[in-house]
C-alpha cells in the first residue's frame, strides 16, 4: 500500500459532503463564518437531487393568507408527522423558514409574485394555508442555482465528481474523509476536523422511485461505519403521484402542485375516491363534497380543502387500494386530471409537468388525464442528530437535509423538504463553528485507517472474478419492493431481512471492470455497500414498529398504537459488523410546544397560545 504522503491530500476546516440544497447552504454558512470550506459532490455542481423538487418551499410568511404564522406551520408539521417528529426541530424549522426564504431573494432567487409584488405562496397537502414559496413547478432548480451562483463567490472550494468512501477518525473524533475522483479513479484524503453530511436518502434501493442514481444512502453507510446512529428508518415516503407509464419513466415525480392547483384523482369508474378516504383526524378540516372543494379552490376562505390534498401517506394508500380492488387506471395507477382548468393556466403554473408528459408519455395534460401511482420518494428517517447543533453522536460529524432524521417524524409534508435544507443546512454550519471553537487539539489522519478503507473498495477492481454489480442492485430492489414496500407485514419483513443477509455476502464479492477511470460499474460496487446498509436498517426498523403510523403501514398491526408514540427506532452498527435496532424512549415534549401542537386553529390564528 502506498504511503500516506503519496496520496493527494486536501485540508479544510469543514468538509461538506453533498452539494444539494442542504450542503450548499451549510457551506455558505461556514464560509461566511470564516472557515476554510470544501464541498464534494458525486455529480457536477448544480445537478444534485434538489433540482427535482418541484412544488415549493414551505414558510409561514403569510403573504397570501395573513392568518398564517409559525405556530400553525409547526402544528401542521407535527400533525403530518403523526407527532413522532423531534419537537424542537419542528419548531425551529417553522420559525426560521421565512427568514431563510427571504435570504434567497437577496441572493438572486426570483419567486413567483403575488398581485402586490410579494413572494407568492401556494397550497399543498397538509398545510393549512397557502404556504409554499415557488417558481412554477421548478422551485428546486431555482433553489440550487441561487445557492450555487451565490456560493461560488463566498470562498468555498467545490470538488466536483468526488465520491466519499469512508470517514476518518482520531480517538473518536472526526479527522477527515477518504474519497476518490470519478474522472481518474484516484484517491484523495481530506483532512478536516468537521464533516457535514448532506448526502440525501437511499431511494435507489427500490425499483420504482423518483430518486436518481446518486440516492444510494452513502451518508447512512459511512455514518454507521463511523459509529453514528440512524433513526426512524422505517418511515420511507411513497409519493402518491409518480408516473406509471411508459415503463421506462415509471416512478418519475408528478408534483403535488398539480393537486394544489386543482387536480382531481379518479378511478376507472370515474369516482373521486379520495372523498371515501378521509381519516378522522383530518375530517373537520377537509371538504366532504365536490362543491365545497371547488369553492375552496375558488378562494372561499370559509370552505375546507378538497381531500386530494390530504397528507401523502393517506393519498398513496388510497391509490393502492383502488388499484388492488381492480379500479385502477389502464397501466395500474389512478387518473390525475387537471384538464378542467384553463389550458394557459396549466401551462403557466405547471410548465415542466406539461413538458414531461408531452415528451415522455405523449400525453397532453391540458386535455387528458395523467396516470399516476405511488413512488418511493423520500427518507423521513436518517442520521440521528442533536436538535440544536445538527451534530451526531460522533464528535465532528454533522448531518442536514434528507440524510438527517427528526424534523418530519412519521411523514413529511410536501414543501417541508426544501425549507428543511435551508434551515438546517445553515444550522449545521453554525453548529460546526461552535464545535471548532471549543475543539482542543487537532485530530490527525491515521495511515492505517486510510489503507483499510482503500482496500475496502479496491478489492472490487482487483479480484479475478465476481458478480456483475448491476444484477445485485436489481435483486436488492426486488427484495425491497416485495418485502419492504408501501404496505408491510411481519412475515414478509423477516423474509426480506433474511434475503438481505444473503445479498450482503454477494455484495462483498461483486466485481468491476478493472479500469478505475470514470467507471460507473466500480461506482455501483461502492454504492452497493451503502445501499444495503440503508435497506437493512429500513427493514429492521419496520419490523420493530408494530403499528401503522404515517408512512409506515403494517397489515398485521393496523392503526396507531399508544406505545408507538413513546419511542423512535434507532439503529447502530456493532463492533462485529451487525446492524442492531432498539427503541429509544422519547423525551417529554416541551410544554409550550405541546400546547401549540394541540391548540385549535382559532386559538392559533388569534395568537392566543
Amino acid at each position: 500500500m502506498i504511503d500516506l504522503n503519496e496520496i493527494q491530500t486536501i485540508e479544510h476546516d469543514v468538509l461538506v459532503v453533498g452539494a444539494g440544497g442542504a450542503g450548499l447552504r451549510a457551506a455558505i454558512e461556514t464560509s461566511n463564518l470564516g472557515l476554510n470550506t470544501g464541498v464534494i459532490t458525486k455529480s457536477l455542481l448544480g445537478k444534485a437531487h434538489t433540482v427535482m423538487a418541484e412544488g415549493g418551499m414551505a414558510a409561514a410568511m403569510g403573504n397570501v393568507d395573513s392568518r398564517d404564522n409559525w405556530k400553525v406551520h409547526f402544528r401542521d408539521t407535527m400533525r403530518g408527522g403523526k407527532f413522532l417528529n423531534v419537537w424542537e426541530m419542528a419548531a425551529v424549522h417553522a420559525q426560521d423558514a421565512p427568514g431563510r426564504v427571504r435570504e434567497l431573494e437577496d441572493w438572486g432567487a426570483v419567486f413567483d409574485r403575488t398581485r402586490t409584488g410579494l413572494i407568492n405562496q401556494r397550497n399543498f397537502g397538509g398545510h393549512r394555508y397557502p404556504r409554499l414559496a415557488h417558481v412554477g413547478d421548478r422551485t428546486g432548480l431555482e433553489l440550487i442555482r441561487t445557492l450555487q451562483d451565490h456560493g461560488i463567490h463566498q470562498g468555498m472550494d467545490v470538488h466536483s465528481e468526488c465520491i466519499g468512501v469512508d470517514l476518518l477518525k482520531d480517538g473518536g473524533k472526526i479527522s477527515g474523509m477518504l474519497a476518490y475522483w470519478r474522472d481518474t479513479g484516484r484517491f484523495v484524503v481530506f483532512r478536516a476536523p468537521v464533516v457535514i453530511f448532506a448526502t440525501g436518502g437511499a431511494g435507489k434501493a427500490w425499483r420504482v422511485t423518483s430518486n436518481s442514481w446518486e440516492y444510494t444512502g452513502d451518508g447512512y453507510g459511512m455514518a454507521t461505519r463511523a459509529g453514528a446512529e440512524l433513526m426512524d428508518m422505517e418511515f420511507t415516503q411513497f409519493h402518491p403521484t409518480g408516473m406509471v407509464w411508459p415503463p421506462s419513466v415509471r416512478g418519475i415525480l408528478v408534483t403535488e402542485g398539480v393537486r394544489g392547483e386543482g387536480g382531481i384523482l379518479t378511478n376507472s369508474d370515474g369516482v373521486r375516491f379520495m372523498f371515501d378516504n378521509i381519516p378522522e383526524r383530518f375530517a373537520p378540516e377537509t371538504a366532504d363534497t365536490k362543491e365545497e372543494g371547488q369553492r375552496w379552490l375558488d378562494g372561499d376562505r370559509e370552505a375546507r380543502r378538497p381531500p386530494e390534498l390530504l397528507t401523502r401517506d393517506v393519498v398513496a394508500r388510497a391509490i393502492m387500494r383502488e388499484v388492488k380492488s381492480g379500479r385502477g387506471s389502464e397501466h395500474g395507477g389512478a387518473y390525475l386530471d387537471i384538464s378542467h382548468r384553463d389550458s394557459d393556466f396549466v401551462k403557466r403554473k405547471l410548465p415542466s409537468m406539461y413538458h414531461q408528459f408531452k415528451e415522455l408519455a405523449e400525453v397532453d395534460i391540458t386535455a387528458q388525464p395523467m396516470e399516476v401511482g405511488p413512488t418511493l420518494h423520500y427518507y423521513m428517517g436518517g442520521i440521528r442528530v442533536n436538535a440544536h447543533s445538527q451534530m451526531t453522536n460522533v464528535p465532528g460529524l454533522f448531518a442536514a437535509g434528507e440524510c438527517s432524521a427528526g424534523l418530519h417524524g412519521a411523514n413529511r409534508l410536501g414543501g417541508n423538504s426544501l425549507s428543511d435544507l435551508i434551515v438546517f443546512g445553515a444550522r449545521a454550519g453554525i453548529g460546526a463553528k461552535e464545535y471548532l471553537d471549543n475543539l482542543s487539539g487537532s485530530p490527525t489522519v491515521q495511515q492505517e485507517q486510510v489503507h483499510q478503507h482503500m482496500r475496502g473498495v479496491t478489492d472490487f477492481l482487483n479480484r479475478e472474478d465476481g458478480e456483475n454489480p448491476y444484477v445485485v442492485v436489481d435483486d436488492l430492489q426486488k427484495i425491497m419492493e416485495l418485502n419492504v414496500g408501501i404496505v408491510r407485514e411481519g412475515e414478509e419483513l423477516e423474509k426480506g431481512i433474511e434475503e438481505l443477509q444473503k445479498l450482503k455476502e454477494r455484495v462483498k464479492k461483486v466485481k468491476a471492470h478493472p479500469t478505475s477511470q470514470y467507471n460507473p460499474g466500480w461506482n455501483t460496487c461502492i454504492d452497493l455497500r451503502n445501499m444495503i446498509t440503508s435497506a437493512e436498517a429500513t427493514a429492521l426498523c419496520a419490523l420493530q414498529r408494530e403499528e401503522s403510523r404515517g408512512a409506515h403501514t403494517r397489515l398485521d398491526f393496523e392503526g396507531e398504537r399508544e406505545e408507538g408514540l413513546t419511542y423512535n427506532g434507532v439503529v447502530h452498527l456493532t463492533e462485529s459488523g451487525e446492524l442492531k435496532v432498539r427503541k429509544e424512549m422519547r423525551k417529554d415534549a416541551p410544554e409550550d410546544l405541546q400546547k401549540i401542537a394541540h391548540s385549535t386553529l382559532e386559538e392559533l390564528e388569534g395568537n392566543r397560545v
Partner: protein, 253 residues
C-alpha cells in the same frame, strides 16, 4: 419490442473508436434507457453522466446522430425503423472517457460573472417585484446548464482564436442579471469586454438546441447586444447619459 443497433464512441483523450451494441427496445424507452441496458448487458464500464432522467438536471448531454441532445429526453420512437443510433460525447469540450467530457470551462466562465447585487429592501423588510417584470428573468432562470447551447455554438466549437466569448449559456445568465428588477450592478461593459457579446453572429443554433426552449438569441443575446451598441456606439445616447445618468449608474456611484 424491437432490436436496435447503437454505435457508441468508446475511448479517452488518447483516442478511441466506435463500438456497436445491440439493445432490445421496449415501448416508451429513451436513449438513456438504452445506455443503461448496454451497461447492464455488455459494458459495465461505459461512462456517461446522468442524474434526474426527467430533463431537469441537464447532466446527460451528448451528441445523438450528430445533434446535441439530452439522452433522457430523446425517445426511441423518434428514429426511423432500422436506423443505427450513433452516440458521441459533446465535441466542444475535451473528452474524459466515452460519453463523458470535461465541462469545467463553463464553471470558470460562470465564476467570472460578478455576483448579484440587490438594492436595499423596502422599509417593511420586503422586496417588491411585479410578476410581469420578472417573467423574462424567470425564462432565463429555467436554464438547466446542460451546456448543449455551448456545445453547438460554432464560436466555442471552433475556438480558433484567443477570443473570450463566454457562450450562449452565460449571455443568458448575464441577461438574467441585467434584467433582474433588484440588481443594481451595471453589467454592460462586462457584457462587451469580458464576455465578448460582439462575437455572436446570431445564427440561432443555440436557441434550436435548448431543451428548455429559452429564447436565447432573441430574448437574451440580441437585447444585450443592443444595450452595448446604445452605450458604446450611439453618440446621441452617450450624450443623453452624460446629461441624465441612469438609475444603475447612480446606484453604482
Amino acid at each position: 419490442m424491437s432490436e436496435r443497433t447503437f454505435r457508441v464512441w468508446r475511448g479517452n483523450q488518447d483516442g478511441g473508436e466506435f463500438v456497436d451494441y445491440t439493445v432490445e427496445v421496449q415501448p416508451g424507452m429513451v436513449v438513456l434507457d438504452c445506455i443503461h441496458e448496454i451497461q447492464k448487458e455488455h459494458a459495465s464500464d461505459l461512462s456517461c453522466r446522468w442524474n434526474c432522467k426527467a430533463g431537469k438536471c441537464g447532466s446527460c448531454s451528448m451528441e445523438i446522430n450528430g445533434k446535441p441532445a439530452l439522452s433522457c429526453m430523446t425517445r426511441m420512437n423518434t428514429f426511423e425503423e432500422g436506423e443505427t443510433v450513433t452516440l458521441q460525447p459533446m465535441k466542444t469540450f475535451p473528452v474524459i472517457r466515452d460519453l463523458t467530457c470535461d465541462v469545467s470551462w463553463n464553471y470558470e466562465q460562470n465564476k467570472r460573472i460578478r455576483p448579484f447585487a440587490p438594492r436595499p429592501r423596502d422599509p417593511d423588510g420586503e422586496h417588491r417585484m411585479m410578476q410581469e417584470d420578472v417573467d423574462r428573468v424567470q425564462e432565463f432562470r429555467k436554464c438547466i446548464e446542460c451546456f448543449l447551447c455551448q456545445d453547438t455554438c460554432h464560436i466555442l466549437r471552433d475556438r480558433e482564436t484567443e477570443q473570450n466569448f463566454a457562450g450562449p449559456r452565460f449571455m443568458v445568465r448575464l441577461a438574467s442579471l441585467d434584467m433582474h428588477p433588484l440588481d443594481t450592478d451595471d453589467r454592460i461593459q462586462e457584457v462587451k469586454d469580458e464576455s465578448g457579446s460582439g462575437l455572436c453572429n446570431i445564427t440561432r443554433c443555440c436557441t434550436e438546441a435548448c431543451p428548455e426552449h429559452i429564447g436565447i438569441t432573441d430574448n437574451a443575446i440580441i437585447p444585450l447586444k443592443e444595450r452595448v451598441v446604445d452605450r458604446f456606439y450611439d453618440p446621441l445616447m452617450w450624450l443623453m447619459r452624460k446629461l441624465r445618468p441612469g438609475k444603475k449608474e447612480v446606484a453604482k456611484n
